[in-house]
Symmetry: C2
Subunit: 267 residues, 2 copies
Amino acid sequence: MTAAGRPGADQGSPRTVLSRAFAILDTFAEGQPEQTHGSITRATGMSPATVHRQLAELVEWGAVERTRRGHYRIGLHLWRLGSLAPQGRELRDVALPYLQDLLEVTHEVVHLVVLDENMALYIEKLESRPDVAVVSRVGGRLPLHATGPGKVLLAYAPPAVLNEVLAGGLTRQASGTITDARELQRALAEIRRTGHCISRQEMTDGAASVAAPVTDAHRRVIAAISVVVPSSTPDLSPLVPPVRLAALGISRELRSRRHVAGEHLDD
Amino acid sequence: MTAAGRPGADQGSPRTVLSRAFAILDTFAEGQPEQTHGSITRATGMSPATVHRQLAELVEWGAVERTRRGHYRIGLHLWRLGSLAPQGRELRDVALPYLQDLLEVTHEVVHLVVLDENMALYIEKLESRPDVAVVSRVGGRLPLHATGPGKVLLAYAPPAVLNEVLAGGLTRQASGTITDARELQRALAEIRRTGHCISRQEMTDGAASVAAPVTDAHRRVIAAISVVVPSSTPDLSPLVPPVRLAALGISRELRSRRHVAGEHLDD
């Protein structure tokens, strides 16, 4: 995704100094973690001199690091600041022991996912000798309608989010992706009724998952967790209790903390 | 730590637009993940109007999020960008299965640590029913001289880093902290000789650790891992082989990858 597709940079070429710096940072993305002066100039539409000047300041502060080959990467300073985000910090810290237990029981892939700009953002991923290859990455985003945790987040999100997802089109990702709006709405209603979501080959052929919602102190859904197993698994229902138990455990611990992840949404 | 203590903001009040934004972001730190308009104004020495204007742009882009109580936190957008840093991404992805195995064997606390501005920066921390309380946090930094992974990083760092650490003073953190320069140099020589580091109550009373170096494709030390156990453990030597095996496993896998973490340091 180029800078032009990101918020704050969608009214043509960025005009303020800060928005130009943000546009440069937004050229770094999942799938393109390295950039050059040339690729940044092309992606942002800014002049080479401006890109050069801004990059120098970004490097000095440590937002980006320059490699000897003239490539740029996101720097440790930005990683350290980013790690202070409540979803990547309190939520992740609370969830981690539960995710590790879930991993020890299932020996597959375990995910912690939050809603970010109508996408499913993967906050944590643990795997242990999995029999299944999945496309998720920590820091990466996947479509809400095509992933188990995404559908869980969608099921409890404000109606506007579903409307925007439907307006964006339910793009097919794998053989089992739900591409029909009615069918998706039925699936979301079923998630709200049962408190979990079973998916088969919706994001990746060969993979199936069980997902469940995580709630904050106000009982609002702020995250989802999932276990991914091979789609050859005939019966996924035995996975539902452990996944729901882990999600309920995380939710209970979030309620017992004063500063909870997601509190900023509504306190 | 206030913005004045950070690079890029140490020549009095920040002068460029970008350095002002960086100074605001740097008020967010380990131990103070929430800020207010007032606390940012005080910490940066900038005018309330400037802080207000810059905060609005930072919020719009998603670098920070505003809570309903007028507090600010680091936002998901910055977390997502930060997760692209090679140390938090490739290194962490490669290391994670080895750290998980180490955790399954030891059932204590496992760390992945890199060097950041003469501090030990904790990239990953896994724990499993530990019998010991440690002060480390993912995204947090601890003094190099007082932690096992820190001493390992220091043992293989350029001499300038050791000189700066010594110039900064070897502050006592716990009953076993090495506060004598000669003694620290002997400990570092021992690490280089044996390839591992055993520490007792140097950062936290009640805790002991075994640490070992992780090397990149050029056989340079780019990280350290450690296992922390109760200091009541009489003999730590049985932990040395598993910790070294995990560190060697991570290093071997980094060598076999084309794009290795730390490659930007010297290629």
